[in-house]
């Protein structure tokens, strides 16, 4: 087990440099180089053909949609799109790789030199924007899936043999590699997480991948090194296959604490790949090789160069939706709210819901209030996403409208939303069925008020002495008697009138 240094302690002495390599499976209908389907969960080896099985004589042909998706990714990440580039073969033997080489891109990636701005909350409640440089975005093909059989654990160690399913082999992957990210200090793990989150959101909004992380369609390798401030960068480790947003943050945190302990002890960091363990958030070294890998890259002779016409690239640029960060900035400005309030909306997953609710006529403050308050609480209780609560923006806008018109007060409005969320129908139907109407009819209110006055003579005396705040007790009694449906403001007016105060 690794020795760890306290996190804040580590950051007081060392500056971290992070780098992230993210692989995402593209959501094309067919594989990168053949017409086999890419659907997840098929019977093993039923989505294979001579090409993706690497049978002797077979040849790859590039999927146009995969190229387009990669170019759109590159554009969304502010990259330059190569005017000419080639695929390359990466040669190494492994039983999950049918040809014993992977078709990838090496020194001629399709997209280079971009950036992505990510927002990270700081400990003092501010939001810091960090620009993550993008080194490259390139295409490659996925490998098959190994199952280890025999032995106790189903893991690779101690297995008697392995079984291979090549359904996944040849599914298009896009690899996005960052430049080294420096100067983030203690925020490094959160920057890593925010970056992967932002990438995921971009890919979803582009429609190039639905990024099902639970199915392994996004895989992240996290590089980290430490050095005392002002010193040259330290030796880095690469933690492989960190496959959830939370794990990205945890693995970086762990490596900071572990490497700091090694360096504190006068040790040196070994350049190595490490494995991340979901159970305890630790990383352990992969078995180190006696010799460095030599992938013997060379241009793939079976595939022709890709030379995107600028006209085509511009067409693709025209298909880009408004990207998440741009949209957020625009909405924040339109609504005129603080960074903090905006982050609350985003963190609640309510951005689209609030936007649509406002479009349906609600005031922005009301829209935020209902989604982040009552509805967020209900969603949390039920353990579902806000969007899956069964309440629509139009319904929330209707409730906000009724509150603004004075037909409902907040208490009643909460009950209406509760009813809508419980499947009792539209807001007006819930109001009718539950009889949730604000009582502002003076006769009805006066009857209740007189009873309350009679029962609260102490309070009456205080009010008449000028202690107007004592009115609360009487108003409360009226509200109680009307089961919350009294218009509290009118009750107050009537009370003061009655007592001539």
């Amino acid at each position: 087990m690794s020795t760890l240094v306290d996190y804040d302690d580590a950051l007081s002495r060392y500056e971290p440099v992070i780098g992230l390599e993210v692989h995402v499976e593209l959501g094309t209908a067919s594989k990168m180089f053949c017409g086999c389907p890419t659907t997840f969960g098929g019977q093993p080896n039923t989505q294979v053909c001579p090409v993706c099985l690497g049978l002797p004589g077979s040849l790859p042909v590039v999927n146009r949609a995969a190229i387009e998706s990669t170019i759109r990714m590159g554009l969304a990440l502010n990259c330059d799109i190569a005017s000419w580039c080639r695929f390359a073969r990466k040669n190494y033997f492994y039983p999950d790789m049918p040809k014993d080489y992977q078709i990838s891109q090496y020194d001629e990636p399709l997209c280079t030199d971009g950036y992505l701005d990510v927002s990270v909350p700081t400990p003092d409640g501010e939001v810091q924007v960090v620009r993550v440089g993008i080194e490259r975005v390139h295409m490659e093909e996925d490998t098959g899936k190994l199952t280890h059989t025999g032995g106790a654990t189903g893991r690779i160690h101690g297995a008697d043999y392995s079984l291979v399913d090549y359904n996944r082999a040849g599914i298009p992957l896009v690899e996005i590699v960052t430049k080294p990210v420096t100067g983030t200090g203690a925020l490094a793990p959160m920057v890593a997480r925010a970056y992967v989150t932002a990438l995921r959101d971009i890919m979803r909004s582009l429609g190039v991948s639905d990024v099902r992380m639970e199915e392994g369609s996004l895989r992240c390798d996290a590089n980290l090194s430490l050095a005392p401030p002002g010193e040259p960068w330290g030796t880095r480790t690469e933690t492989k296959n960190v496959n959830s947003l939370r794990s990205v943050e945890r693995s970086v945190t762990f490596e900071i604490r572990r490497q700091a302990a090694v360096l504190d002890g006068g040790g040196t960091i070994t350049q190595e790949t490490r494995h991340f363990h979901e159970d305890d958030g630790s990383t352990t070294p992969g078995r180190s090789k006696e010799e460095a890998e030599d992938y013997r890259y060379f241009p793939e002779p079976d595939l022709l160069p890709v030379a995107p016409d600028p006209v085509w690239v511009d067409e693709l640029r025209g298909t880009l939706p408004e990207l998440p960060a741009v949209r957020r900035a625009r909405l924040q400005q339109e609504w005129g709210i603080s960074d903090f309030d905006m982050d609350s909306v985003i963190n609640a997953g309510a951005l689209g819901l609030v936007e649509t609710t406002i479009a349906a006529g609600a005031d922005q403050a009301a829209a935020r209030k209902w989604w982040l308050g009552e509805l967020a609480r209900t969603a949390k209780e039920r353990g579902v996403d806000l969007a899956d609560l069964g309440v629509t923006p139009v319904q929330v806008a209707r409730v906000a409208e009724l509150v603004a018109a004075g037909t409902l007060n907040d208490k009643l409005a909460r009950q209406v939303l509760e009813g809508v969320a419980a499947g009792e129908g539209e807001p007006d139907a819930v109001i009718a069925a539950r009889g949730l109407v604000l009582v502002s009819d003076d006769d009805a209110l006066l009857a209740a008020l007189d009873e309350a006055i009679a029962a609260n003579q102490d309070a009456v005396a205080k009010i008449q002495e000028g202690k107007v705040q004592a009115a609360g007790a009487i108003i409360g009694a009226v509200m109680k008697a009307t089961r919350g449906q009294a218009d509290a403001a009118r009750v107050r007016e009537l009370l003061l009138e009655r007592l001539g105060a």
Binding site: L55, P56, L59, R296
Partner: protein, 495 residues
């Protein structure tokens, strides 16, 4: 009537059209011939008697309905064992693929089927097409029908020998550095390497992807043109396949004319190292072309002297990667010690399944691509490739076609070079430049060398996409030679 098996494809087409012969009769005659002579020649690794006869029956039935048939319908053909054929053993001459039954047809095989051409079987070859003598086949060498103590050329010695031994009227070959042309030259047959991309590589078990090209083997220029026409054309499964329509090659044969044509003799492809009898027959053929009205000029392609070196870096590099897939995991041989891990099983399988020459080239290619050597070897070889292309471009700016001897010598004795890889490689010196540049070339028999009585080939080279020029020139020269001889050269085989 001439013996069926000695007829050209052109004659067989005519006999079927006249109703004198059926495809079944023709196919059976060839199967009988194979049964009779192949134990001496060993041109075939696998004979598909049932499959061939089934296609023959299909062709005959189609003819009986009076349907419009493809030109070569019913004419049998042999296929080099480097092409996949669904359910038919395909080994590429290697032990590592022994017993493999591919689940799919190569595009060329599919084209032959679509043309209703009975496929007689799979022909012998150097293992994974590495070699110039067919001696590197894991299943034993093929012998040259002109002299069974001699090699039939390689790697496609099986296809060429099958033609020369009258075991097939037509055959499919593949040419990475001369594997169609050199066997054609040493067996007195015609072999064509089309422009790179003219014939699909889908289903061709790759040796060197940027050099490999399938093409026709035949006993006459016209037969080769017909087969070329049948197998060429765009294939969406091969990214490097040419989209342009296939020119009418049979018309090019019919209309062949060299009058006023400038034909370039490549200075660098001759002289030292070329057998005197080869040079003599070559010069006589050049004189015939001049007689028929061609203007003969000398051209120099100075970078051709580096072609062999570049070729023996590019080829092993690509081959080392292409042959990685033969690892004993998914098909073919597996050598498995019960306790070995996967890496060891792969290494044992490959050591046992590959022959000496294949291992040598895999090691060479692995070296040429490895870190620290890439620029000096593979990178530099790719630059030489550019220079060879430029030499061709300059020469073709001046000449319609270029010519040279196809190879420096006639068929050498079996065993002579089998342990001397460098001597073996030199055989390809005249054929390699075309593969590096990707243009088209044809080998035509131009006589027997006086000193050994063995066939000599002349190579005609044309620019990219100008395959038709090859056939025009070859047809004129073939006609002129046959006028001199009074009969096709092939009639002298075995005599």
């Amino acid at each position: 009537m001439t013996d069926i098996v000695r007829m050209t494809a052109t004659q067989l087409v005519e006999e079927m059209a006249q109703g004198n012969l059926t495809s079944a009769e023709i196919t059976r005659a060839h199967l009988d011939r194979i049964a009779e002579v192949d134990q001496d020649i060993h041109a075939y690794l696998h004979v598909d008697r049932e499959g061939a006869l089934a296609t023959a029956a299909e062709a005959d039935a189609a003819r009986n309905t009076g349907a419009d048939l493809p030109p070569l319908a019913g004419v049998p053909v042999a296929v080099k064992d480097v092409m996949t054929m669904r359910g038919v053993p395909t080994t590429a001459g290697s032990r590592i693929l022994e017993g493999w039954l591919p689940p799919y047809d190569a595009t060329v095989v599919a084209s032959l089927r679509r043309n209703l051409m009975p496929i007689l079987g799979k022909t012998n070859m150097d293992e994974f097409a590495m070699g110039s003598s067919t001696e590197y086949s894991a299943y034993g060498p093929t012998r040259n029908p002109w002299d069974t103590s001699r090699i039939p050329g390689g790697s496609g010695g099986g296809s060429a020998a099958a033609l020369a031994a009258f075991e097939a009227p037509l055959a499919i070959g593949t040419d990475t550095g001369g594997s169609i042309r050199q066997p054609a030259a040493v067996t007195g047959t015609v072999g064509v390497k089309p422009t790179y991309g003219a014939v699909s590589r889908y289903g061709l078990i790759a040796l060197a992807s940027s050099l490999d090209q399938a093409g026709p083997c035949a006993r006459s220029v016209r037969d080769a043109a017909m087969l070329h026409q049948a197998i060429a054309g765009h294939d969406p499964r091969d990214s490097t396949s040419l989209a342009a329509p296939v020119p009418d090659l049979v018309a090019a044969v019919r209309e062949g004319d060299v009058r006023g044509m400038r034909i370039g003799l490549v200075t660098e492809l001759g002289g030292e190292g070329y057998q005197p009898g080869v040079e003599q027959r070559f010069r006589e053929a050049v004189d015939l072309l001049a007689d028929r009205g061609a203007e003969i000029v000398e051209v120099s392609c100075p970078n051709f002297r580096y072609a062999l070196g570049a070729y023996y870096l590019i080829l092993p590099s690509e081959a080392s990667s292409n042959l990685a897939k033969f690892d004993g995991m998914r098909y073919g041989l597996r050598v498995d010690d019960s306790d070995a891990g996967v890496e060891q099983v792969m290494a044992q399988t490959r050591a046992a399944g590959f022959g000496d020459e294949v291992k040598r080239r895999i090691m060479l290619g692995t070296y040429a691509l490895s870190a620290g050597y890439y620029d000096a070897y593979y990178g530099q070889a790719q630059k030489v490739r550019t220079l060879v292309q430029r030499d061709f471009a300059a020469a073709f700016a001046d000449c319609h076609v270029l010519i040279s001897p196809t190879c420096p010598t006639t068929a050498f004795p079996l065993g002579e070079k089998v342990d001397d890889p460098l001597a073996m490689y030199l055989n390809d010196i005249a054929t390699i430049p075309v593969n590096l540049a990707g243009n088209a070339a044809l080998s035509l028999p131009v006589g027997l060398a006086p000193e050994d009585g063995l066939p000599v080939g002349l190579q005609i080279m044309a620019p990219h996409h100008e395959d038709a020029r090859l056939y025009g020139v070859a047809a004129v020269l073939e006609g002129a030679l046959e006028d001199t001889w009074g009969q096709p050269l092939i009639e002298k085989v075995g005599g």
